[in-house]
């Protein structure tokens, strides 16, 4: 009961923080020039501080909602803060990268994330993330913003429609996955048994990662929202292996894209560091809350937040 009350309280604060920042920016973003002027009116330290608070709450919501921090970061921060989309995407990639680097060692050691599965996928996704990052920095902001809005709304659709399969049935592994020996075994503590797994449709899966890589680099979203359905539903990896490998995979995909943003100057430490620390601390708190309560409603709140931010990005991009 106390857990539910605390949950409602922080979600209220989260939405309030969003509304306040949204209002502050909404009153200024009629044109980019006025946005600059208005954001100059508040002391410089206010925005990094609000960014820290919002990313902290975002970290909690991301864990409880079962989504990556990156997918919340870019639409919310670009929609409601005075930062230019270029810097938001650079920060978004580094936020997703830091989260993946932090989770990676544990997932690999427990044999939940699988290196043999991640390696060929990583080669394709990271190469394509470079292309996406370069495209994102080269295209006009309104086009990237419009595409971002459309992508976020698409992600909402995926989140609402895509089913998950805990143990997908793979009758026969395909020739490529057999040649690459992509299969494994992990211990499932909930049922106290060992789960053997193999995959199929490897060429189709690898081809899909071309698109995922480009989108990850272009929008700085991270790509867990796409990695998991492809690894799980298309390629047939068990859900736990898909989620863990997806998280680890982000450390490879986002590394290549992050370098493009760093080398093109689209990284501001005053944005990046409070965001990384905020979202990591929030994730730690989120994991603790998750251990005590299973708030199913949070996923719907995440969907509503994404829907709202996606629509806002789309309208901003279209100049409406």
């Amino acid at each position: 009961m106390r857990g539910s009350a605390a949950l409602i309280l922080f979600l209220t604060i989260f939405l309030l923080a969003l509304s306040i920042t949204g209002y502050a920016v909404a009153s200024t973003d009629a044109a980019s020039a006025t946005a600059v002027a208005a954001s100059s009116n508040v002391p410089w330290w206010v925005w990094p501080l609000v960014l820290f608070v919002v990313t902290f709450l975002m970290g909690i919501v991301a864990v409880l909602g079962g989504v990556g921090g990156g997918v919340l970061f870019v639409p919310i921060i670009s929609g409601f803060f005075p930062f230019h989309l270029d810097f938001v995407r650079g920060a978004g990639l580094l936020v997703a990268l830091a989260g993946a680097l932090a989770a990676g060692p544990g997932l690999l050691k427990k044999n939940m994330a699988d290196l043999r599965l991640a390696l060929p996928v990583g080669v394709i996704a990271s190469a394509c993330a470079i292309v996406g990052a370069m495209l994102g920095l080269a295209l006009p902001t309104n086009i990237v913003q419009t595409a971002l809005g459309a992508a976020i709304l698409g992600i909402v659709g995926i989140m609402m429609i895509a089913k998950k399969s805990v143990y997908p049935e793979v009758k026969k592994p395909d020739a490529l996955s057999t040649a690459l020996r992509i299969n494994g075994i992990y211990y499932e503590p909930s049922s106290d048994h060992e789960v053997s797994w193999q995959i199929h449709r490897t060429p189709q899966g690898l081809a899909t990662f071309i698109i995922i890589g480009v989108m990850a680099g272009m929008f700085g979203l991270g790509a867990g929202w796409a990695n998991v359905p492809v690894l799980n539903l298309m390629m047939g990896a068990p859900l736990k292996v898909s989620v863990a490998t997806s998280k680890f995979l982000l450390s490879i995909t986002d590394t290549s894209a992050a370098w493009i943003y760093v080398n093109n100057g689209a990284v501001l430490p005053m944005m990046v560091v409070p965001s990384i620390i905020g979202i990591m601390l929030g994730s730690i708190v989120g994991v603790r809350i998750l251990a005590k309560t299973k708030p199913a409603a949070v996923r719907y709140i995440v969907i509503v937040i994404l829907l709202f931010s996606g629509a806002r990005a789309l309208l901003k991009g279209l100049g409406i």
Partner: protein
């Protein structure tokens, strides 16, 4: 039943380097940011001027703040803001170190395909990190 199904040698080697690098990178990030905030080292862009810059497209910001993109930050780490790039670059470079660690393991185990895939991955990441790839800009 053996409840500890061991990860492969290369997977554990990767995980160990990643863990070490991630911790070192985060520590660098926090320490350098404290130095930045404390004003111990004067920043290239004064913090009070930041709101003027962070709303600009990146190309405009670079021109207005007289910053050269790429690895030129290395020559500016005496400035509080650019010192932070040490931690950022380290975090972005950890994965390259992890891959370099597992390449010899793959070849020792005669797993040539994965050895070559790991080399290709290193080349991709080094290319991204090199600064050769410049965006056209808008």
């Amino acid at each position: 039943m053996d409840k500890k199904i061991k990860a492969t040698e290369e997977q554990l080697a990767y995980a160990n380097i990643l863990e070490l690098g991630m911790k070192a990178g985060l520590l660098m990030l926090i320490v350098t940011f404290i130095v930045y905030l404390s004003g111990l080292l004067p920043p290239h862009v004064p913090v009070k001027d930041l709101p003027m810059y962070w709303s600009m497209p990146v190309k405009k910001y670079l021109a207005a703040a007289h910053i050269h993109p790429g690895w030129s930050w290395l020559f500016m780490i005496g400035k509080g803001d650019f010192l932070n790039f040490v931690g950022i670059a380290f975090l972005a470079g950890v994965t390259i170190l992890c891959y370099m660690r597992i390449i010899p393991i793959f070849f020792r185990k005669k797993d040539r395909v994965y050895g070559i895939l790991a080399i290709i991955e290193v080349l991709i990441l080094v290319l991204a990190a090199s600064g050769i790839l410049k965006s056209g800009g808008h």
